[in-house]
């Protein structure tokens, strides 16, 4: 078996690499040829499944980017040719909306909704139900458009405040940088509603003054040293998918702000098959990591909803959670070793022991530090052989209460599938509206029959029923056994199996929903999602109360149309669940829609906290939720975090002002 060797940076790791790279590969090569072709087949299948939406990966355009670090290695990092994220993000991504420039929802000349591009399962399809759903849910109207500013007006961008001394020394290191307006604007925001809304209106606030693209750990060390020397503010930038205002430049910052874009640190440095770990540069985005590991027959199994664009370093810095955490764990369960560059130097552990009793785990100062302490450069992560078999599924419940009771029972029996999510009635309808045009009369006939069976024969109220989507992974046999167990539990709570299709569509929705927001914003509809975690006994209450609070606040704030206020339970734990809320409304008639939106979101968060929910399950705190930190972790807790910050970064070089 031949493996491509990525470039290596440190002496130690290069020794390990040359000797031990791909630990256990002998075992693999001992296996028969058919076995390895099996692997290939699985890998192929896996590739097609991974985030089922990716029809074809973007072909490489990044060979030119190989810089010193990569040249240092003996071999070329061939795989980097197929990296998703180029240095100039604008080549493939929108500057004022979600995702790829070629993919978006629009209403065609016939007034039908359509999803453009070729990347996703839904690409090129007509979605007949979407228009009516949008009109009836929001009172939106195709006649009332709110188009975005078409191009980024560079003259609206403030000229950069450059620290000449810093710049001069930076140049001498050969690390690529730019102070081009577009590059800077791209790194000035995440995907909060107010951030995107402002961009669509062509409004641009404080943006970083400079963007640098380190290629490896050592580059980061140099940049941080220079930043400390010249008192420059550094803001790490990974995938840019933040929804906590974490990437917003603090307006009070007077120093030159340098955005440290990790996207070019995107190699898998080694894979250790004996211990099932991989050592990866932290700038790699989720889809690349999975794809590359899949090629070797492995996966991390970490699939946050943003995995197309979010980066490993970002996951670590925000304590990310993946859809399939029931099998693979959340980021804190997956990480074995972290290397982070701080103003005080590099922090890392001396070994890769699977668990240690050496005082408080220093990894937990890093995880969730949200870029306030340093830059995560390399991470050793657990990997797993790719699952042999994967199966979607869905269950319809007569009402949300029964659905939650079922999820609770599944958690109690600790038999949750890789993923289990429960959507409420509104989201069920939403999912329905996103059904692409069916190709045959037969399918639509079947759909009609199913509907008849559930609503008329089984007596489910179409305005109350809700659906759980399931994803099973593992050995075929075990999956089928597991599936039966889960469906048996569901039956006790009045659940009816509703097919694989519904399940798969549910998961597809995850990836396209962010695109849908852009469509909404073309027609006066603004919205956002937010999440929390909550003990089991409060799940129903929090869902009901937060949704009701949103509706009431919208009414009080003068929103003319009833809002969409919906939720789903997306993760189950032994002692509670993660709940995700979606909220959107038609803002026609409001003079300051973003302000209204923010007030409602604020009220909703207050409601969450009052009902025993957490400040965040995985989105993080950023600057958006800072005000509640003290009451969340107590004053002493704040002091503890503060003292770490004061020691690690006394001059606030990592000055994004998140968290504290």
């Amino acid at each position: 078996m031949c493996h491509t060797f990525p470039a290596l940076t440190s002496d130690r790791s290069s020794r390990i690499c040359s000797l031990l790279y791909k630990h256990g590969s002998s075992m693999a090569s001992n296996s028969s040829g058919s076995d390895s072709s099996d692997r290939q087949r699985i890998a192929q299948q896996r590739l097609s499944v991974i985030a089922g939406h990716l029809q074809r990966p973007v072909e490489g355009n990044s060979g030119i980017l190989a810089a010193e670090c990569k040249a240092q290695g003996d071999k070329l990092d061939v795989s980097s040719e197929r990296r998703t994220v180029p240095r100039r993000r604008q080549e493939i991504m929108k500057w004022n909306g979600w995702g790829y420039s070629d993919s978006k929802f629009l209403y065609n000349k016939k007034g039908q909704a359509e999803f453009t591009g070729k990347r996703y399962r839904l690409s090129g399809m007509i979605i007949p139900g979407l228009r009516e759903w949008m009109e009836s849910t929001f009172g939106a109207n195709l006649q009332h458009k709110t188009p975005a500013a078409p191009i980024l007006n560079s003259s609206a961008v403030q000229p950069p405040t450059l620290n000449e001394a810093f710049l001069k020394e930076l140049k001498s290191t050969g690390i690529p940088f730019s102070h081009d307006a577009e590059d800077r604007v791209f790194r000035s925001h995440g995907h909060c509603l107010h951030e995107i809304f402002a961009l669509r209106e062509g409004k641009i606030g404080r943006v970083p003054d400079l963007v640098v693209w380190p290629n490896c750990h050592n580059d980061v060390v140099k940049i941080v040293e220079l930043a400390c020397k010249h008192n420059v503010c550094l803001m790490p930038y990974g995938g840019g998918t933040s929804v906590s205002s974490a990437l917003e430049c603090p307006p009070e910052e007077t120093r030159s702000i340098v955005s440290l874009d990790t996207s070019q640190m995107n190699r898998i440095l080694w894979i250790d098959e004996k211990n099932l770990t991989a050592h990866v540069e932290a700038g790699i985005v989720g889809q690349d990591l999975e794809r590359l590991l899949n090629e070797s027959g492995y996966c991390t199994g970490h699939e946050p909803d943003s995995m197309e664009f979010s980066s490993l370093g970002g996951w670590v810095a925000t304590r990310a959670s993946g859809m399939k955490k029931n099998i693979y764990g959340n980021i804190e369960d997956l990480v074995v070793h972290i290397k982070m560059v701080t103003p005080q130097g590099v922090i890392e552990k001396s070994c890769q022991g699977p668990r240690m009793s050496t005082g408080p785990d220093v990894h937990h100062f890093i995880m969730g530090s949200e870029g306030t302490l340093g830059v995560v450069t390399e991470v050793t992560m657990k990997i797993r052989p790719m699952p042999e078999y994967q199966k979607y599924g869905s269950v319809v419940f007569p009402n949300f209460e029964m659905g939650v009771a079922c999820l609770r029972e599944v958690a109690r029996q600790r038999c949750a599938p890789a993923s289990i999510r429960l959507m409420d009635n509104e989201q069920f309808k939403f999912g329905h509206a996103l059904k692409p045009q069916v190709s045959s009369i037969f399918t639509s006939f079947l759909d009609g029959l199913k509907k008849f069976y559930i609503t008329k024969f089984k007596g489910f109220d179409p305005n109350r029923l809700c659906v759980a989507t399931l994803l099973f992974e593992g050995d075929r046999e075990k999956v089928l056994q597991h599936e039966k167990q889960v469906y048996d539990i569901a039956a006790k709570f009045g659940g009816l199996a509703a097919g694989e299709d519904n399940g798969q569509r549910g998961y597809m929705l995850t990836f396209v929903i962010a695109y849908l927001r852009d469509l909404g914003m073309d027609y006066y509809v603004i919205g956002e999602s937010f999440e929390t975690s909550v003990p089991w006994d409060r799940v129903l209450d929090i869902c009901r109360n937060v949704k009701a609070r949103i509706v009431r606040e919208c009414k009080d704030k003068g929103v003319q149309f009833p809002p969409l206020s919906t939720c789903r339970v997306t993760q189950t734990y032994d002692a509670g669940a993660c709940v995700y809320f979606y909220f959107a409304f038609n803002y026609r008639g409001l003079s300051d829609p973003v302000h209204v939106y923010e007030q409602v979101e604020h009220a909703a968060r207050e409601e969450i906290l009052a009902n025993g929910g957490s400040l965040s399950h995985h989105h993080g705190v950023g600057k958006l939720r800072k005000e509640w930190m003290r009451e969340t972790i107590s004053s002493v807790g704040m002091g503890m975090l503060r003292s770490v910050k004061d020691y690690v970064d006394p001059n606030n070089i990592f000055g994004n002002r998140n968290l504290l």
Binding site: R538, D541, R544, N611, E631
Partner: protein, 683 residues
């Protein structure tokens, strides 16, 4: 939308731009049976599951909370305790059935048509209620002035197709033969009077109440005042039930709860004479079915009109906003009992007071109440002997009417011939003859056995207290300006801050007597100032309140209105300091005070009969306990002697003419008391 096509609005009376409809008028035109059998198809709370009474009981018994409490009860086996809990629940549970609602409606309809000329209901309030019921669990909170109003709300809701409430009632009602069961099936559930420290009982009751609120299976009706007011004056709210009702909101089990204050006002209260006797210590007859039939002679009488004013629904969520932090419930499993923080307790207390105040504001003041105010300001001999001049009384009543309007009171002022018809209605209290109005005193005046002087006092007291209770119906309008008028009268000050501190002091002392919303002293003061200014009694400047010549009449009226309270409190303070033992029970205290008061009335040293009322006496005790001058241990009250010694010396230097014992009262809120007594003694 109410079914107005069925029950068209006729006989609309306009009051404060609110429409009151006589619901009896329609009833008088249709058959009772037809009415009782009408289609009843209410729109319930949208989140409510259709659950039967047995579901409710099951949910309560199987609740985590009750299981926890049962497990805590040691001493007997779990099964035995559970059996006991089941027994309590059986005794308590309502058994609401539509059939019995119809029977109730049929009966009540017949009785009400007999008793009352009209029953006026504000349709707008009913409309809002109907809307509210669909949106969140609703708590109906009427005031309680008469047994008659026990089923009035159910009766109205049945008439207008709104879900029938379950009603918290005292356990004595349940023990009435047949009637108890009818009430139970009409939605009443029964609560023991003295629960004390019976934890299991508390647990069953609170879980029962919370389950009703949580599921929203029916509106819940309860009297926040705790019992029927014997004085027709609002009673300081009880918090136990209020706590239970609000807890589901605090714990996030419901999004919101709607409170609907309901003000029921009577022209004439059915049990008026019983009330006065009860207050004088004649025990109230036990509730019994035979007693009910005996009381049927009341059916022969005319009781005028009744007004039921459904207040604007209040959102608990809005009321509590910014007052409490519900996250204090986050760290303990919700099913376990948790002692609420003082913040929450204060909030519950505040909400309860607000409701009672709202009930007061919603109630209608009859001309008779105003006349009672005036009659009580005449010397008692005038009332009992030669009588008060009719002409003067009517003139003054009209004057008072204007003052009430200035004070934003709600009046029930029928257009024609108000005064004489009012007096005619109240022939049991006064009679109007030859241009004079006299107090009617019970008993045969021509009786052979002359009454002893003490008996004479009691006889007059019974009549006076009846009058007092009608005066009390109007008191809430006058209390705040009245206290300011008293402050002006006593302090003789014009300084606003001085008046304010004395105002606060009086407000504090009388907090068991009148309803003051906690923490709103300065608003109350401002309100008092602005009302007195509005009626031209005072002139206000930044620092000063100056009495105007034109305002003397108003100020003197107000000050005289509250004088009986001051006199009563002062007398009881004196009794406690000079005559009373250091440790006493309520049973010893009440007759002793009554004896002393009787003597003083006979000797002409006391001019009010109100101190004879056990209600006043108990209020003084409660006030002193609140002010920590008296402590209560089980049944015994103890006057705080240690405090006397500690403070005695200092006090002696300030005021010398007050007996040492009195000074014990000064241990708390020292300055206020000193000021109070100093000024009283200077008077």
């Amino acid at each position: 939308e109410l079914k107005q096509n069925v029950y068209s609005i006729k006989n609309v009376v306009l009051k404060d731009e609110e429409e009151f409809t006589d619901i009896l008028e329609e009833r008088r035109c249709t058959t009772d049976l037809g009415y009782a059998l009408r289609t009843f198809n209410p729109q319930p709370y949208k989140g409510a599951p259709s659950s039967s009474t047995s579901d409710l009981k099951k949910a309560v018994l199987e609740s985590q909370y009750l299981r926890y409490i049962i497990a805590l009860e040691t001493g007997s086996s779990v099964e035995k305790v559970r059996q006991e809990a089941r027994g309590i629940l059986e005794e308590m549970s309502h058994n609401l059935q539509l059939g019995f609602i119809r029977l109730m409606a049929y009966t009540v309809n017949k009785v009400f048509k007999r008793l009352f000329r009209s029953i006026y209901v504000n349709m707008e309030g009913l409309n809002m209620l109907q809307q509210a019921i669909q949106e969140s669990p609703v708590i109906l909170m009427p005031n309680h002035r008469s047994y008659v109003d026990f089923l009035i709300v159910s009766f109205i809701l049945f008439t207008y197709d709104i879900p029938i409430p379950v009603i918290a009632a005292g356990i004595p009602l349940a023990s009435m033969k047949v009637v108890g069961e009818i009430l139970r099936r009409s939605g009443a559930f029964f609560i023991r009077r003295a629960i004390g420290s019976d934890k299991l009982y508390w647990a069953v009751l609170s879980e029962y109440v919370r389950t009703i609120v949580r599921t929203g299976c029916a509106p819940l009706e309860f009297y926040v005042e705790g019992f029927r007011s014997r004085t027709l004056k609002s009673v300081v709210p009880k918090l136990g039930m209020m706590d239970m009702v609000l807890e589901p909101y605090f714990k996030g089990e419901v999004f919101d709860i709607t409170l609907v204050p309901i003000s029921i006002s009577y022209d004439r209260v059915v049990e008026e004479s019983l009330l006065a006797l009860e207050l004088l210590g004649v025990p109230k007859p036990k509730e019994s079915t035979t007693g009910l039939f005996k009381a049927s002679r009341v059916l022969q009488e005319d009781y005028g009109c009744m007004h039921v004013n459904f207040g604007r629904p209040l959102s608990v969520r809005q009321l509590c906003e910014g007052k409490i932090n519900r996250s204090e419930y986050n760290l303990i499993p919700r099913d376990l009992p948790q002692r609420p923080s003082t913040e929450i307790q204060d909030c519950v207390n505040w909400v309860a007071h607000l409701i009672v105040r709202t009930q007061e504001e919603g109630s209608l003041i009859s001309p008779w109440s105003l006349m009672a105010c005036l009659l009580l300001q005449a010397p008692i001999t005038t009332l009992t002997e030669e009588g008060l001049q009719w002409h003067g009384l009517t003139e003054k009543t009209l004057w008072l009417r204007k003052l009430v309007l200035d004070f934003r009171g709600r009046l029930n002022w029928p257009d024609s011939d108000v005064m004489s018809s009012t007096v005619a209605l109240h022939h049991s209290i006064v009679h109007h003859k030859a241009g004079r109005v006299c107090l009617v005193q019970d008993g045969d005046p021509a009786s052979q056995d002359p009454l002893s002087p003490e008996e004479g006092v009691m006889r007059t007291a019974a009549a006076v207290l009846m009058l007092v209770s009608y005066r009390n119906q109007a008191l809430h309008v006058f209390v705040r300006p009245g206290i300011l008028a008293t402050a002006i009268h006593i302090t003789k000050s014009t300084q606003k801050d001085e008046l304010f501190s004395f105002f606060c002091f009086l407000r504090d002392v009388f907090a068991n007597e009148f309803i003051f919303i906690p923490g709103r002293a300065s608003q109350d003061f401002d309100e008092a100032c602005s009302l007195l200014q509005k009626c031209g009694a005072v002139h206000m400047s930044e620092q000063e309140v100056t009495v105007l010549e034109t305002g003397l009449e108003v100020l003197s009226f107000l000050q005289k209105l509250l004088q009986p309270f001051l006199d009563s409190y002062q007398l009881i303070f004196r009794y406690l300091c000079e005559n009373g033992a250091h440790v006493f029970t309520e049973k010893q205290f009440l007759p002793a005070v009554q004896n002393l008061a009787t003597k003083l009335i006979l000797s002409g040293d006391l001019h009010t009969f109100e101190v004879l009322s056990s209600d006043t006496q108990k209020n003084v005790l409660s006030a002193l306990r609140r002010l920590e001058a008296v402590t209560k241990l089980r049944n015994e009250y103890k006057v705080n002697k240690a405090a006397v010694r500690r403070t005695g010396d200092i006090l002696c230097k300030i005021i010398c003419d007050i007996p040492v014992k009195i000074k014990l009262l000064f241990c708390v809120r020292l300055e206020n008391f000193v000021l109070f007594f100093t000024l009283l003694s200077l008077k």
